[in-house]
Amino acid sequence: MGGKKPEGMVLINEQGLRADGRRADQLRNIKIEAGVLKQADGSCYLEWGGNKVLAAVYGPRECHPRHDQDPTKARVRVRYNMAAFSVSDRTRPGPDRRSQEISKISSEALDHVVLAHLYPKNAIDVFIEIIEAEAGTRCAGVTAAAVALADAGIPMRGMVTSVAAGKVDGKVCLDLSREEDNFGETDFPVAYVNNTKEIVLLQQDGHFSPDEVSEALEMTQRAADEIYELQKAALLRKYQQMAGAEDVEGDAGHEPQIEPEPQIEPEPQIEPEPQPEPQSEPVHDTGVEN
């Protein structure tokens, strides 16, 4: 926010479409893949518009340093980090104030859904690497981190999905692009717990009337529902692939049964039961139309 809009720059045209052709309440394309790293206990790769994000989870494991330990529950520790090459001007490696703040609020967001009391004195470490950035990296990071937690089999109350709204040319819009983020009036990142609609992360900078706050909340909640389906699908795909591989190994020649619709559990936080059907469908590209 706060950048001065160049003279004559139009972010929303007369048809109500944005510079990249999206409607006000339309997401950028999102692609999610679970279980992409070998060493981590859980991981996720996520592309969201021009953002490329990796998230990895280690733990529950012994919490170091010791003074970080909580005798009643596990510490959920998120480290958000931007790669030096992820933005147009190289960023200095290492934590800066911005990334420390994002790490803090992301930890607090995910801590709410993780059943941390099951692992006293442990740490659940979540690493978010922004490989390439195009506005909305903290939302992309939290969304990927939640998938990585589920992929690691960490017991969770629900899935966390994060998305931002903002204000562009005086209009509340969903999921700002880089240009809109630089020259828009407001940024409003939110994270929801999908099954309860609770808000676990909320920030705003810029200008919103109280009514616009309500509008942005409704817009982001609808979008979070859409993104949640992609998170769930990514997890299902991973476990179906695993089950498929085992199936081929242990029972060669057996004709796998392919169900047209994967059985989707209503409770996504529970690690999906490995299902015997292999599914070779590649990474799912969202048609986030409508």
Partner: protein, 266 residues
């Protein structure tokens, strides 16, 4: 005894109190503690304020110096905000590099000020592309009983509103003649209000213990027109969308009251 353990012990008590419509210090849910604001407190600073919000005590100083502008804002002054959570304020604060808590407070307070456009950065330009005023806003928490967000925010805007730009001190900039000191160009008065959720209730101006028993916190910064300029959810726990709207609605009223207290004490 560690205050974490005290919070653990007192949680049920505080939650039960909240369910009964009460707070441990006898306040109502919407009642702020007494606020006293003194300004022009530090003579060496260009502007300063000391804010007491109940037993929370914050000292804020404004320092200014001449610097070069950022290339993308060649005719704008700059603002840098930082928070020092001194170990003298509570046993929870430790010496060492800035903690995530102090970074969060500084950045949230900064956003409230910056995004309300209350500082006229153009008026803090001395010579475009070459010399501008850099403003440093430093807050020191010296006694801590919760809600540093609102106390610091009040202290920062009070210090800015009473600051004087030491323009008469600058010499030797080519093409810039002698200047007189002038008041800090402050155009709006952003005020932050913070609430926590406890036992399903929304409590404004949380004390230290009310902020430590596990409920989420929401800070909202309002400009003079009642628009929201910055928000931050912090701590564990979660809000519903309706609770957020409720905090914005009620917080907006408290911001008006706090702004009146602030303006009266300048």
């Amino acid at each position: 005894m560690s205050s974490d353990i005290i919070a653990e012990i007192k949680r049920d008590y505080l939650v039960q109190l909240a369910k009964d419509g009460k707070r441990h210090d006898g306040r109502g849910f919407d009642q702020f503690r007494d606020v006293t604001i003194s300004t022009r407190y530090i003579q060496q600073a260009e502007g300063s304020a000391r804010v007491r919000l109940g037993d929370t005590d914050v000292i804020v100083g404004v320092k200014m110096n001449v610097g070069t502008p950022y290339p993308d804002a060649p005719a704008d002054g700059t603002l840098t905000t930082s928070a020092e959570l001194r170990p003298m304020a509570t046993s929870d604060f430790e010496i060492g590099p800035p903690s995530q808590e102090s970074i969060e407070i500084a950045r949230v307070v900064d956003r409230g000020i910056r995004e309300s456009k209350c500082l006229d950065f153009a008026a803090l330009c001395i010579k475009p592309k070459e010399k501008i005023w850099m403003t440093w806003l430093d807050m020191h928490a010296v006694d801590y009983d919760g809600n540093l967000f609102d106390a610091s925010s009040l202290g920062c805007i009070a210090a800015l509103m009473t600051a004087t730009v030491p323009a008469s001190k600058i010499t030797g900039i080519e093409g810039v003649g002698p200047m007189a000191d002038f008041p800090m160009p402050v155009k709006d008065v952003p005020v932050m209000t913070t609430a926590v959720k406890l036992g399903g209730q929304i409590l404004f101006d949380p004390t230290s213990i009310e902020g430590k028993v596990g409920g989420p916190r929401l800070s909202v910064s309002f400009d003079r027109e009642g628009n929201v300029r910055a928000m931050q959810k912090g701590l564990g726990g979660a809000f519903t969308a309706d609770e957020v709207k409720e905090i914005v609605r009620r917080g907006g009223q408290h911001a008006i009251e706090l702004r009146a207290i602030l303006e009266k004490s300048l």
